[in-house]
Symmetry: C2
Amino acid sequence: MSDMQGLTNHQVRLAARPNGLPGPDVWDHTTEPVGEPADGRFVVQVTHVSLDPAMRGWMNAGKSYAPPVGIGEVMRALAAGRVVASKNPGFAVGDHVTGTFGVQSYAESDGTGVQKVTPTDDVGLPTYLALLGMTGMTAYFGLFDVGALRDGETVVVSGAAGAVGSVAGQLAKIKGCRVVGIAGGPEKCAWITEELGFDAAIDYRAEDVKKALRAAAPDGIDVYFDNVGGDILDAALTRLRHGARIPICGAISTYNATEPPPGPANYMSLLVNRARMEGFLVFDYVEKFPQAANEMAGWLREGKLHSREDVVSGQVSDFGDVLLRLFRGENTGKLVLQIA
Amino acid sequence: MSDMQGLTNHQVRLAARPNGLPGPDVWDHTTEPVGEPADGRFVVQVTHVSLDPAMRGWMNAGKSYAPPVGIGEVMRALAAGRVVASKNPGFAVGDHVTGTFGVQSYAESDGTGVQKVTPTDDVGLPTYLALLGMTGMTAYFGLFDVGALRDGETVVVSGAAGAVGSVAGQLAKIKGCRVVGIAGGPEKCAWITEELGFDAAIDYRAEDVKKALRAAAPDGIDVYFDNVGGDILDAALTRLRHGARIPICGAISTYNATEPPPGPANYMSLLVNRARMEGFLVFDYVEKFPQAANEMAGWLREGKLHSREDVVSGQVSDFGDVLLRLFRGENTGKLVLQIA
């Protein structure tokens, strides 16, 4: 096999641990020749890189649910692409796949954690990084399992125009819930109410969230699906109903803080309202992924779920700039870097 | 019936809402003649008043799980006493009872929420306010239900020499757990390890709690039973194991704060460790009280559980002073005012 000859793998490596927002100085851009895969392995040409808030945590030295990305290592990333060379009987040249391929144009794999997917005209590869990928699974298990959602409850979602939040809100609508989304800016708010069917939207940049929650969820909150932490979490805590559940999916408002961010001052609302706040990791549900993905795909076909990908076309080396869009809240839906 | 003639009911009423520690100015001392009970009602001579951290919350105007005590009202309190007049067929003169009788020397009741108890030489009335009362029930359901304790886990209890904490730690020992108690001062620490059988004690006044937890629970914490909130909660959050549970029983370190206390800055440990923090109210378990009380009484008889009551003899009017002992951490075990 000589397909690989002359191909160059462009990579983004972590050069330094960021303090605050990750600027250009934290990245190294490197190139390597693409080699032939060893026995049992295959090479993927990466076409789409997923940009996720969790990436910020992987860049820190501290203990997290995943080990930190080492200095000098290719930045970890979920991605999608096409097999271009294979010595693994389970994967053939031309197969479309998703996996943790990293921020690079070619990745070698032994198939661990790699999913074969079948993109169509209607449902493209980016959707397999979004609604039908980890993003959708995170919304699904966070809401249904950790959130223990019951039909007809009142659900509030923060980061509601983001990748996970927009799916979580739609899932709650499918279950007949009243759904309030919190997002930044009038366009995002219009999108979640007009396109996604949320019952109400709160623009946290323009409104007093606590007051707005009182108006939008006058009987209180049964499930608060939290993607942002910070002041918005604290506001939601003041509006819990008895027995409320708070799945903690993320805290993007705090990820780039240079001082330790304060905790949720109103956490004692958990006691007063016999409520709970619970973290989760989507990988703990891996055995249930196929069933959930099937259900999600069905809802997608029926038009009950909409997947929106905010696809930025560029080079591998644009990764750092695109990542900043995520932390500045400039994306609507799932942010994906499509490698030109 | 003329038994009541000439008897005087001494009462402590809430005169003003405290800012910080409740000083003498927040109490009014009043007297009333004791009347004959109406049909269906009875009169209890209160002999023992329970002093509980939750009282501080009842004194605030804000929403809590129980309505605030109104200005001018008799201060709410669990208490024990003896029926001295009755027009209720369910309660006879001489019966010993516990109930929410308030801080007063005589209380009238229709029997709602009142328990008949049978004190003996071994197990006196104060124990029915402690291990065999709400205190014990709180430890039992907080640890076993909310904490979902499994045999052999590592349990950390704060306020470990307090009424609830000392019981929670002993219950965990009965289940074969490694139990670490956090308490203030060498005497309390000695009591929980030497008398109650805790595996280790941390004196939060003398030690760096985070470091001490690393030494005392080197593999991390499965259940952190929190009575105190504040810095100790934050320290415990840094030491959680995967799947850890934090029953929130109280936050006595913050109850008398004059500024809004900060929240637990390390709450994102819940996400990293797929852990949960959950509030609860013992009254939600009322239907299961008899079964739990039986089990606790059995362990008490077998010597597996020890109940310690810190009984202060005095007048009804001493209530305010005795309450301050609680908030200064001067009690060991259950603080009770015995009315002379």
